[in-house]
Symmetry: C3
Subunit: 656 residues, 3 copies
C-alpha cells in the first residue's frame, strides 16, 4: 500500500520542482506519475526531441526518493502532427471532424498517428526505460474519455471492412450472419459496407455490435503497440493504463490482458453527480460522500482484470470541475475513499493532482494543494492516511465467496437494443452489486470466462450472450447461480437463440422467454410470493414459460412467472426493486451456505486479509459489526460519518 | 371481413413455407402480404432478376388457398443501386446524407431512383399481375416512416424551383404571394430559391408550406407511377398503400385518390406509448390496451379516403419494439382490436407478422408465432376471432350522422407556425374526436371537399384555410356546424385573411379574430356560462369581436367571448378542456336532433349495419347500453375488460 | 418624452401611406422609424438604386409633421448579394452554413459584405442625411439576434488569427498567456490556431474568451464603419442602435461608446416567457404583466451607456409571436410599460409596429393596429399615454445613490466556465437588481470603468475580472461596496489570479477563495447569523479563508464563512436566496446611510426628477408610498393592477 500523486512538472517553473518533490515525500507520497500530455515539450517539432527538462524532472523526483510512473503522451498529439496529417482527427457520428484544441483528438485507425505514437513511445522508452526510479509506465490516458472510442472516419471504414472480411471470410457469410435479407440490406462486396451512423432509422444491431467490437479491437491493437515497446525497453517495470468509472465503450477485460496492472481513476463525487441511472434523490443524498457502492464496484471490477493487481491512478482529492454539479466532499471523505481502496486491495492510491493548475481547462479542478501552494483540505487528509498507514501491514485480499459476472459485450448489446428508453445496463448490474454489498458480502467482479472455482454464489445480472462453454463451467461450479432478466437473450450474431432465450442455458434451466416487455418508468408490476406481495418490477419483464423440473417460486400479479428455479439455478424475470432484489439474493446466498451481514444504508464492509474494514457513507454515526473485544487497527466500534474503521478478524475465521 | 397476415418467405428456409401456409389457412387466415422489402432477392444485381424463389412462394401460398397481396419492394433499395447512384440517398435538414443500412434511404425527387423503381415494379407486375391468387398490390411501404418525406437534396431543390415556377408562373407573383418584401427576401429568378432549412431564424412560413406541398406532391407523383404500372399489368386487382397512424407529413387524401383501398398499420400500444399530446398519466393508464380512441380515429379517417374501402394492413399482435416503452397488451386486446376494426368497416385485418424474426432490426417485435414456431398469445386470439367470424355476416357501414373535417394542410400550417410551443394539431383534433366518441356517436372523418350531404352535425376542430367554396357548401348543408379555434386563420398563401380570420367564413359567421394568444401548459383561463364556471381553456385563445347577429354564449373570465354562435354555426374560441368540449359539443348535437349515448371512460360504441358493437378498454366490467332482450352476436350485456360485444339493432331503428 | 412607432411603408400599398401618417400624428406619435429591412427595394439589383418610393414615404411622413428615424437595411442582405458572394453567409458552430431566407444571414468578418454595407449606407446617407425630417439613424437591427455574433467561417478564422497576433505579438506569448503547455496545445504559428468549435471536449477557456472578444470587436468595427458614414453625411443627427434584452453576446458598453443614444427593444412578455433563470412558477405569475424588474433592469442598463440618453426603439404593444408561450398582456400594461420607460428616463418610446403585417414571419406579432386597420387594444393605450403626456414635463433623471456594476466579459467568462450546469450569469446579476428594487431604491447600472463618484452603495453581483485600477477607484469611492461570489475570480487571461481570488481586490479585502463548489438545483446550504438560520445558498459556494481584519458576519451551516466584511466592503460567498439577499443588501444600504422603502411584491418605484413614479405589476390594488397630501401627476394613492401613479416630490427632498 502506497500513496501516490499526479504531477506535471512542465506546467510549473523549474524553481518549484525540488520543493514540490521534498514536500511530496514529507507528506508520505511514494509514487509520482508524470509526463502524460507533455508531447509538445518532448518533441517540440517533428523529430526534434527535447529531453533535458524531463531528465531534470525525473532526477529531481528520484533524488527526493520518489518512485516514478511515466505516462506516454499520446492522448495529446501536438499541433504539428495534426498539420502533417489532418486525417488523424476523429470524426463524430454526425460526420463532423473533431478539431485540435483539447485532447484525445485522434482516430485509433489512423496509420499516421499509429506510427507517430510508435516513434514517441519508443524514444521515451529508450531514454527512461532503464532509469532506476521508473517503476511503471502508463499507456496514453483514459482511453475513450469524451466519447472517443468510435470514430466515423474513412480510415475506420476501411479497416472495419478488413476486420469484417477477416471475421466472416465471405460476404455471403456476413449476409447470413447479419440477416441482411431483412430490408434488402445484402452486400456483394465487403467494400460496400459502411459505418452504422446517420441512417434513416436504426441500423442492423449486429452491424452496430460489430462496429463496437472492431473499435474495441482497434484500441487494443493500438495499446498493445505501446505495451510491446515499453516491455522491450523497460524490462521489469509494470505497464498499466488508467481506466475510468462506468465506462464500457471498449472491452476492458481484453485490453487488461495485455497489462500488468489495471488502474482506474476514482472520482466518487463526479460519478455520483453524473450517472443517470442513480435516481435524482439518491444523487442528492450522496452528493458529498459519493454513492456508497460506486468506488467499491470499480475496485472489485478492476481487481478482476490483472490477477488481482490494481491501482487508483487518479484519486479525487476535492471538488472536480466536470460534472453537472461539483460539490465539495464531506470532511473526511478523501481519507475514507483512500482507505476503502486499500481495503479492496489497491496497491497504490495516487491523488489527482499535486497542485491545482490556475489556467487552461482544469483550473477549477481541486488538488492536494491550492494554486498558491498551500495544502488544501484533501492534502491534509492524505497526510493523515500516510501517518495511519505506517502501522498497518497489507495482506493479500483473497478470493471472495460471491462472484458477479460482468461482460462488456452485454453493455454494448443492451445499449444498441435497450428496447425501452429507460433500461440501463449499468443500472441493472449495479443494482445487483449494491444489493449484495448491503447484505454485507465481499464480491469479486469477473468476466464470464473467469475461473469460477471456489465461489459459493455466482450472480449474472445481465449476460446477453451465454455460450455452451460457459454453461458447461456453470454446471460444474457447484455454486448457487442467479440470472437476471435478458440473460442468454442473444447469440454472438445478435440474434435470438434458436429455441428462444436463454439459449444454451436451457440445458441447465429449461425455460423459454417467449416475449419481453419494457415499461415506462412510472409503471410497476407486483411480484407475489405465496400469495403476498413481495415487491415489484419496473422497466422490464421477461415472459417465461417454465420447462420440466422448473419451480415457479414467485409470480407477477398477472400470474406470469417472476422467479424460477431448478436446483442451484435461479432466474429473475424482471428488474426487481431494491428490496425485492435483496431478499431474493439473500435466499440464494442462504442456499449457498453464506451468512449475510445486512448493513444499514450508509455502512459498508470489506475484508482484506486479517482486517475487516467498515466504511460509513451515511449521515449518522453507527456501530460496526465487530465481535466484542475486537482489536481495531483503525477507529473503534462507534463509527462517525465519513469515517473508516478496521479490526482484526479472529485468525481461524473463514473468509466469506 | 377477412383475416390476413404479413409474411416474408425470403427470411425463412424454403422447407418451412408449405407448413407455414398450411398453418395460416388452418388458423383462419385468408390473405397474406408478401414481397415488400425483397428487392435484393428479386434483382440481386442490376437488371438480373431472380423470380424463382418468389414463384415458388406464391405457388405454395396459393396452393394453400390463400389470397396474396404483393408489395412492391421500393422501400428498401438494394446496395448496388445506391452504388450506381449515391445521390438517391436523402438529405436531412441539417445537410447530412442518410446512409444505406436500414430502409427508406431514398429521395422522392431523385430521377435515377424513380426510373429504377419503374423498372422493378414493371418487372414484378408483368410476372405476377395476372396470377389468379394475387388479389391486391401494395405500393412501397409506409411512405414517410422515419421522417423521410422531406429531403433537402439538390434534386429536391431543383424540382422545388420547377414546382414553384409552375404554381406562380412569374417570380414577381411568387414574391407578392409570399410577401417577400418583408426582410428583403425578394427573388429575381426561381433558380435563386433554396430549401427552407438551416436559416438563422424562421423561414417565411409560406416558403415552408410550399416546400411541404411540393414534397407531398413529389410523393404522389412517385406513387402514381407505381399505380399506373400495376393497373396496366394487373387489371382487376386492388392497389393500396399501407398508411400510418398520427402521421400527416403528406396529404393522404390526395394520395388516396389514386388508390382503390386505403389501408393502415394499426399499432395501438406503440402509438399510445409514443404520442406526446396524450398526457403522461393517460399514456400510463392505457399502456396495455391502447388509448380507446386511437385505433377508431384512424379507422374513421381512412374509411373516409377511398369511398369507404379500408383495410388494416398491419395489426399489432403483441408488444412492438419501437416505442419508448413497449409493454405487452392485456390478454384479449388483440382480438378486441381486430373486432373494433371490423366494426368500423375494415374489409381485411392483417396481422403483423406471421412469425417473429430472430435477427436484424425487428427481432424484438412480436408476431402471431414465436421464433421457435409456436403460436404466441396474439396468435391464439387471432384464432378465436377467426372462429367467431364464421357466424357473423358483414354489413355495409353506412354514413354516420356526425362528420369531422380533417385537413392535412392544416397540420402543416399549425406545425410551421404553432405560435406556442405546446400547441399540437393532433392534440386539438383528437380532443374533438374523443369527446364525440364519449358522447356515443359514430363519426365520419372526411376531407373539407367531401360531400357534406346527410350529416346532422359537422365539426371542424382546426381547419386553417376555409375557402369560399367550402363556406358555400357548409351554408347549404343544413347541419349544425362547430368550429374550433384557429379556423379560417390563413389564406392559401399562409397569410391572415383580409378582414381578419375566419376569412370567407365571416359571410356565415360575422366575427373578427383580432388577436391570438398561446399559454404555457400550466396556465388556464376559466370559461363561464351564465355566470357560472363551465370549464377552462388551455394553451390557446382567440380574441373574438362578434359581429351582427352573433350570440356570445359563453365568455372567458376576462369577458372576451369563449363560445359564439349564429344560427346553426358555433365557434369555440379556445382549446377547451375535455369536459367543457364534451358539454359544448353535446349542445350542438342536441341542436342537431341527435341523441347522445354518453359512455363511461373505457367503453366505446360503433355500429356496423345491423350490429351495434361495444368495446371495453377500461379496467372494470361494464353493462353495455343494449336494449333489454337484444340478441347478441358477440358477448352479452356484461362486458369484461379488454373485451367486445355486439348485438343486433332493431331493424327499424335509424342510423345515428 | 415622445412617442414613436415602427413603420414599413414598403410593406403596404402607397395608397395607405398618407392616411397612416395622419392617423399616427392624431394618435400622438411624434417619431417614426422606417427603412430597415428594405435593402431589396432600395437596391433591387447590384448598384441600381431605387429611391423614388422612399423619397415619397419620407415626404409623406414629414408632411404629417412626423420626425423620422432611418434604419440602415443591412440586417437583411438581398439575394443578389448572396449570389455574388456566397461566403457572406455565416457558419454555425457545427459547421453548417446558415442560408438565405430570413435575416441576419451575414458574417461580420466577411469583407465583401463589409464593402456592400459601406456602399448602401453611404448611398442612403447621401440621399437623406440632410433631410430636415430625419432626426436620427439606426444602424442595422438587433445585432446578434438569432445567435449571430459568433460565425465559424473561414473569414472569422483568418481575422481571429490576425486579432490574436495583434494582441499577443508573438505566438510564444500567446502560448504562455493561454497556458497551452496544458494538454500539449502549443502553437508555433498564429496560422495554426483554429476556432474553438467542434472539439472532443472543452476548448481552453481563454481560447473561447478570446474568440468572444474578437467577435465583439468585429461587430464594433462593422458598426463603427456605419456610424462614421452617417456622421459624415448626416451631421447633427443622433446615431443609435436598437439593442435587445438579456442579450450579452457582444460588449454593449464598447459598441455604445460609438453611438449617441442607446436604444433597446422592450418586450416584457416575450422576455418573461422565454428567460430560463426565472423559475417557471414566476414566469407563470407574471406572464401577462412581465416580470416587474425585467424592463426596469434594461432601462437602467442602457441609460448607463450613452451619458444617460436612451430610447425604447421597439415597445411591445400586444402579444408577440416568438416566445414559447405568447399570452396577451393585461389590459393597461402597454400604457404602464410606456410610463415606466419614461420614469427611467427614456427620451422616446416607439411602439412596434404601426400595423400587424398579415404575411411572412411576423404575421402573428400584434401591433397598434390590426391588419384590417383598426386600432387594437395596445393602440388605445398608446393614445391614452399621449393624452396624459400633454400635462407632464420631462425632468432629467439624475444620478442614483446605488450603482450596480455590470460587465459583459463576466457573462462570457461565466458561460464559458459555469462549473455547474445551472449557474446563470443573468440569474445572479438580476437577483441583486431585483432585491435592490424591492428595497425601493433607484439604481444605475454601470460598467466597471464608470465614474463611481457620488454613489453611496456599489454592488458587484458578478465581476469576474477585478483589476488594480478598479480596486483603486473602489477604494477611493467612499461607498459601501458589496461583492457577490465569483468576483475577482479570473485574470484577463482567464486564469485564477496569483494568491487566489479575488485577486487584486485582496488589497482592500484580504480573503482567499480556496475552492468553489456548484450544487444541484435541489441542494441548499443554510446560512446562519448569530446562530440562527438567516437563509440559504443554492447552486454556488465560494470557500473563503478570511485574512487579517476581516469579519465573518455570517456562516454556512458547516461553519465556512458566508458573509465577510472589512470596513465598507462586503463579500457574499454564495448565491443567496432572494430574502437573504434582500436582508444582507439592506444592511449594506443602511451602513451607506440609505433609507429603504420596501415594497410589496408587485409594486415598484422609480423617481424622475421631481416626479416619483409607482408601478403596480401585481394582481391586487395597493396604496403607494406617497406622503400625505402629495400632488399626483398620474393616478392617486390607490393604485389598481397594471397601472401607474406619479406624484410630485417635495422640492427640498434629496434624491436617494
Amino acid at each position: 500500500m502506497k500513496l501516490g500523486v499526479c504531477y506535471y512538472p512542465e506546467q510549473w517553473p523549474r524553481t518549484k520542482w525540488a520543493d514540490d518533490a521534498r514536500r511530496m515525500a514529507e507528506l508520505g507520497i511514494r509514487v509520482v506519475r508524470i509526463a502524460e500530455f507533455a508531447w509538445s515539450r518532448m518533441e517540440p517539432s517533428p523529430g526534434r526531441y527535447d529531453w533535458e527538462w524531463l531528465d531534470e524532472a525525473v532526477r529531481t523526483l528520484a533524488d527526493a526518493g520518489l518512485e516514478i510512473v511515466l505516462g506516454t503522451p499520446t492522448a495529446a498529439p501536438p499541433r504539428w502532427l495534426i498539420d502533417q496529417h489532418p486525417d488523424i482527427l476523429p470524426v463524430a457520428a454526425d460526420g463532423q471532424i473533431k478539431n485540435f484544441g483539447s485532447r484525445r483528438h485522434y482516430c485509433f485507425s489512423n496509420e499516421a498517428f499509429f506510427e507517430a505514437s510508435r516513434r514517441i513511445v519508443t524514444a521515451m522508452a529508450e531514454r527512461y526505460g532503464q532509469h532506476p526510479a521508473v517503476i511503471a509506465w502508463q499507456t496514453d490516458n483514459e482511453y475513450g474519455c469524451h466519447d472517443t472510442i468510435l470514430s466515423y472516419s474513412e480510415a475506420s471504414r476501411r479497416r472495419f471492412q478488413l476486420w469484417l472480411a477477416k471475421r466472416y471470410e465471405t460476404v455471403e457469410a456476413l449476409n447470413r450472419a447479419w440477416g441482411n435479407v431483412f430490408w434488402s440490406m445484402e452486400y456483394s462486396d465487403f467494400a460496400q459496407i459502411g459505418l452504422p451512423n446517420s441512417l434513416p432509422t436504426l441500423a442492423n444491431p449486429i452491424h452496430m455490435l460489430d462496429f463496437r467490437r472492431f473499435s474495441s479491437d482497434e484500441l487494443r491493437r493500438y495499446n498493445w503497440m505501446q505495451v510491446e515497446i515499453l516491455r522491450a525497453h523497460s524490462p521489469g517495470r509494470d505497464v498499466l493504463h488508467n481506466f475510468m468509472g462506468f465506462f464500457g465503450e471498449f472491452d476492458h477485460h481484453e485490453v487488461a490482458r495485455d497489462l500488468d496492472v489495471a488502474s482506474w481513476d476514482n472520482y466518487p463525487l463526479g460519478a455520483t453527480n453524473t450517472v443517470r441511472f442513480i435516481p435524482e434523490a439518491d444523487r442528492l443524498k450522496w452528493m458529498r460522500s459519493g454513492h456508497p457502492d460506486i468506488a467499491a464496484f470499480h475496485h472489485d471490477l478492476y481487481r478482476g482484470m490483472c490477477k488481482g493487481r490494481f491501482w487508483i491512478m487518479e484519486q479525487e482529492a476535492g471538488p472536480v470541475n466536470w460534472a453537472e454539479a461539483n460539490p465539495s466532499p464531506l470532511s473526511g471523505m478523501v481519507r475514507t475513499w483512500t482507505w476503502e481502496a486499500f481495503a479492496h486491495g489497491a496497491e497504490v492510491v495516487s491523488y489527482f493532482r499535486w497542485r491545482q493548475v490556475p489556467y487552461a481547462q482544469e483550473q477549477l479542478h481541486s488538488a492536494l494543494n491550492t494554486p498558491d501552494d498551500r495544502l488544501d483540505l484533501g492534502g491534509e487528509e492524505a497526510a493523515r492516511v500516510a501517518a495511519e498507514m505506517a502501522g498497518i501491514e497489507a495482506d493479500p485480499v483473497g478470493q471472495a465467496k460471491v462472484a458477479l459476472l460482468f461482460d462488456y459485450r452485454s453493455k454494448w448489446i443492451t445499449e444498441i437494443q435497450p428496447n425501452g428508453a429507460h433500461f440501463d445496463f449499468y443500472g441493472q448490474v449495479f443494482g445487483y452489486y449494491s444489493a449484495l454489498r448491503q447484505l454485507g458480502f465481499d464480491i469479486d467482479i469477473v468476466p464470464p470466462d473467469a475461473d469460477l472455482t471456489g465461489y459459493s454464489l455466482i450472480v449474472a445480472p445481465l449476460l446477453s450472450i451465454i455460450g455452451e462453454e460457459l454453461v458447461e463451467r456453470l454446471g460444474k461450479s457447484g455454486a448457487q447461480i442467479v440470472f437476471g432478466p435478458r440473460c442468454g437473450a442473444k447469440t454472438e450474431d445478435f440474434a435470438i437463440p434458436e429455441g428462444l432465450p436463454p439459449g444454451p442455458l436451457t440445458r441447465l434451466l429449461p425455460i423459454r422467454v417467449t416475449r419481453v416487455e419494457s415499461l415506462p418508468p412510472e409503471a410497476t408490476v407486483a411480484v407475489q410470493r405465496e400469495g403476498a406481495k413481495a415487491g415489484e418490477t419496473r422497466l422490464w419483464r421477461d415472459f417465461v414459460a417454465p420447462g420440466e423440473g422448473v419451480v415457479v417460486e414467485a409470480r407477477f400479479e398477472d400470474s406470469h412467472p417472476a422467479v424460477l428455479s431448478r436446483g442451484p439455478l435461479r432466474y429473475f424475470a424482471g428488474s426487481f426493486d431494491a428490496e425485492l432484489l435483496k431478499s431474493e439474493l439473500a435466499r440464494a446466498a442462504a442456499a449457498a451456505g453464506l451468512t449475510a451481514t445486512p448493513v444499514t444504508q450508509g455502512l459498508r464492509l470489506r475484508r482484506r486479509g486479517r482486517l475487516q474494514f467498515a466504511i460509513n457513507y451515511g449521515p449518522d454515526a453507527v456501530r460496526v459489526p465487530a465481535p466484542a473485544g475486537s482489536r481495531f487497527a483503525l477507529g473503534g466500534e462507534e463509527l462517525t460519518p465519513a469515517n473508516v474503521a478496521a479490526w482484526f478478524l479472529p485468525e481461524n475465521r473463514d473468509v466469506d
